[in-house]
Symmetry: C2
Subunit: 136 residues, 2 copies
């Protein structure tokens, strides 16, 4: 599969795929005789994973860290490091989920009490209970 097809399949641009490969977010992709990239299932799996994790808000840097380890010899140490990274990233995601749930609560509170609450909030009028005292 050429780069354009691979890019559109995952809703990315060819430039982004080349960029990801160049900076080491994913390992070097298979090439054909002319030196063109020819994406295999393995490469597509990498794109899928990278896309998911990027969309979830993980940084390029943490993905490079993981991809780098993935290309090393799988010694005990490297395996342990990989597991650590995966677990760290899981924790990051769990935190983000928690944060989003809190924000969701705040926002739906503001929507529910829109008329009496938000009007006061946006005006200069005094508000009895400050929002930031965690009274969602």
């Amino acid at each position: 599969m050429n780069i354009k097809e691979a890019a559109t399949k995952f809703d990315l641009t060819a430039d982004t795929l080349r960029y990801y490969e160049r900076i080491g977010v994913m390992p070097p992709v298979t090439r054909n005789q002319s030196g063109y990239r020819d994406y295999q299932v393995r490469d597509l799996n990498w794109i899928y994973l990278v896309k998911k994790l990027r969309d979830a808000g993980l940084t390029i840097e943490s993905l490079i860290e993981f991809a780098t380890l993935a290309q090393m010899d799988r010694t005990q140490d490297v395996q342990a490091a990989q597991k650590t990274i995966l677990n760290d990233q899981l924790e990051v995601i769990d935190q983000k989920i928690q944060e989003l749930n809190d924000t969701r609560k705040l926002l739906s509170f503001k929507i529910d009490t829109y008329d009496e609450h938000l009007a006061l909030f946006a005006d200069g009028k005094t508000m009895p209970d400050p929002l930031w005292k965690e009274n969602l």
Copy 2:
């Protein structure tokens, strides 16, 4: 409350607070005789809301849109627009939560099947089922 106190209370920098005010993410803050910012409860509420929504991944641009409306006369039209924005942002957050839950599934799958699966994935060896066919 001066800018430094306000900033540290919400784990931001004074520069960021000035920046938020300048670009219109929040309305102008109360000033004292010397022209120094003196944050009131109302201002702190704004910071709280902005921080939450930024941390949840909403863009500066959408916050400017909301803050701009909040400073207008509260006509029927403006109220409708504000409610629309709040509901749109709620939808954005719900999408993000959904996305994170999917990613969480993928990641914990990779952790659970680490030894048999990830090793194959990272190597050049063939993988029977492509990840991107939604088989989490």
